[in-house]
Symmetry: C2
């Protein structure tokens, strides 16, 4: 589905790959190893696609270098997110951190941030750079808020929305609004694109958080239950906590605190979450958020690219990985 959505910007996306390969080089070997590993591992390039399609909708071609820079920001944020605390390793897959250590991961993340900033400094105006810095600030604020609420069973839906709006949706929002800023299409249209990107990002993260409870590992390639194991109170669990029996609540709280639990115990929690409509509510909210985001697109005239943006919003909530 994502391939079909990207058809209108297929050529530009190939150029994005070339930029990612060529502009992250350095004469420091560790940088080449880590960036090569991360970029080579691929990724769906959803944010570059969002940027490029948004550019077409506001009448621009869209710079593949800027699209690549947005992917660099995303990758840097993953690198910094993967750094672990003194706590025992919590994830099963070989992250860059597991292979090269915390320090190198942090610094290569910084290197990617500097390269992304360089591209925007070369091509973008002051207003765009300000929006970029704000998006980076909101991303980290969301991530820190999430850490603050780790294992906090009192976390409410409002805090959760603040967390995902920051950590995930602010970069989506920047990707969608950046071309409108560059094209100087006026505050109303810029705001429409910003709000479209924000909604798609929120819907994307809501879906991700539902998948963490229901996804088939063989299909997603991701381990299940990571959020619970990390003490992250995502929407499925927040809904479940608000509707469950005291006994069920106690079981969830205990799992949140312990951090490690048997596969069977996780299945038990999933059952509680499902029984209390946690997954259903999350997917419904994701669909509603995506639908609302699509409404922002009415300000732009119909086009293949506008259709692709609408499909991107649908994809965010329908994917199974």
């Amino acid at each position: 589905m994502i391939d079909r959505i990207c058809i209108p910007v297929g050529e530009a996306l190939s150029e994005v790959e070339r930029v990612l390969e060529n502009e992250l080089v350095s004469n420091v070997k560790t940088i080449d190893s880590i960036t090569g590993y991360l970029i080579g591992n691929g990724g769906k390039r959803i944010r570059p696609a969002l940027f490029l399609l948004s550019a077409r909708v506001v009448g621009l071609h869209g710079s593949p270098r800027q699209a690549a820079a947005i992917e660099m920001l995303h990758t840097a944020s993953l690198l910094h997110d993967d750094v672990i605390d003194d706590a025992p390793v919590r994830r099963g897959y070989p992250s860059a951190r597991a292979r090269w250590g915390n320090q190198a991961s942090v610094l290569v993340g910084d290197f990617m941030l500097s390269r992304a900033s360089m591209i925007f400094a070369q091509e973008g105006g002051a207003e765009l750079l300000l929006a970029l810095a704000q998006a980076m600030g909101h991303t980290t604020e969301g991530e820190l808020l999430e850490i603050e609420h780790q294992s906090d069973a009192e976390t409410g839906a409002e805090t959760y929305m603040r967390i995902i709006s920051g950590k995930t949706a602010s970069l989506f929002s920047f990707a969608a609004a950046a071309p409108a800023i560059t094209a100087s299409v006026g505050k109303q249209l810029e705001e429409a694109m910003r709000s479209f990107g924000l909604g798609v990002g929120q819907a994307f993260q809501l879906t991700d958080d539902a998948l963490d409870y229901v996804a088939d590992e063989a299909c997603t390639g991701k381990s299940q239950g990571i959020d619970l194991r990390e003490g992250k109170l995502t929407y499925p669990l927040i809904v479940a906590l608000s509707k469950s029996t005291p006994k069920e609540r106690a079981r969830i709280r205990s799992a949140l605190i312990s951090g490690s639990f048997a596969r069977e115990e996780f299945r038990g929690i999933v059952d509680i979450v499902e029984r209390n409509g946690g997954i259903e509510s999350t997917l419904r909210l994701a669909r509603e958020t995506a639908a609302k985001a699509k409404e922002s697109l009415v300000f732009f005239k119909p086009s293949i690219e506008r259709d692709s943006l609408a499909q991107l919003a649908d994809y965010a909530v329908s994917r199974n990985r």
Copy 2:
């Protein structure tokens, strides 16, 4: 001495403190706690002073917000530098990492980077932002090169100079050159300031690396022998390795690899380093580098501020902490 040097920009430096207090706020508590702790702990504000004095020399007042942003970049880099690998804790003092964990330190560092970028996006032009991104890139490249050469007894003086030029001197260089870029004083004067800052930064780091072998802990407040313990081959050791006997070399290599050693063993290594002129050579190179940096100032007309810059270069090599 540093207080006297800063007199011409004393008022602006007070404003820097206000900016650091007021522009790093967030409604995320962790950010306020960590930034408050780091900023409150003070620091000599050498980089803001360098920026402000450099501004005066090229005929500008110098923005205290930009000066503060440079201190934010420095603090962010310290935060990211303090993140440890899976290796056991290596430093004795309560770093932010030790108090708040790796993850929060990384993210608050990112937050500071975003705030600094925001200030430069609001006030600086595209050229300045490009120079900033380049400086950030060089800083991380230097730090990564250092990690690559950890415990590598073959590290030569050339690699060492590349490391410190990146990790320390590139931000000094940016601080000194930024006002010249803003004032559009032309490539020659801009280059003079860049090279002044670079030299001061190199001299500063060389002195730091000598102090790690000779400083009186009671006076510096820093533990001695940190570099050796971390497997960092700094200039004093590089000189010692090139001049020592095979037996002495074996002892150094063993200390570099082991990572932990008794106080007595460290004294033994210091003796080897001193006996082979490692500390003397390092301090001499620092003085020569500072003297060469000062030559760049001849392009500017005599003034109190120019004198202060020269004194700042002297301070970099004469301080005992």
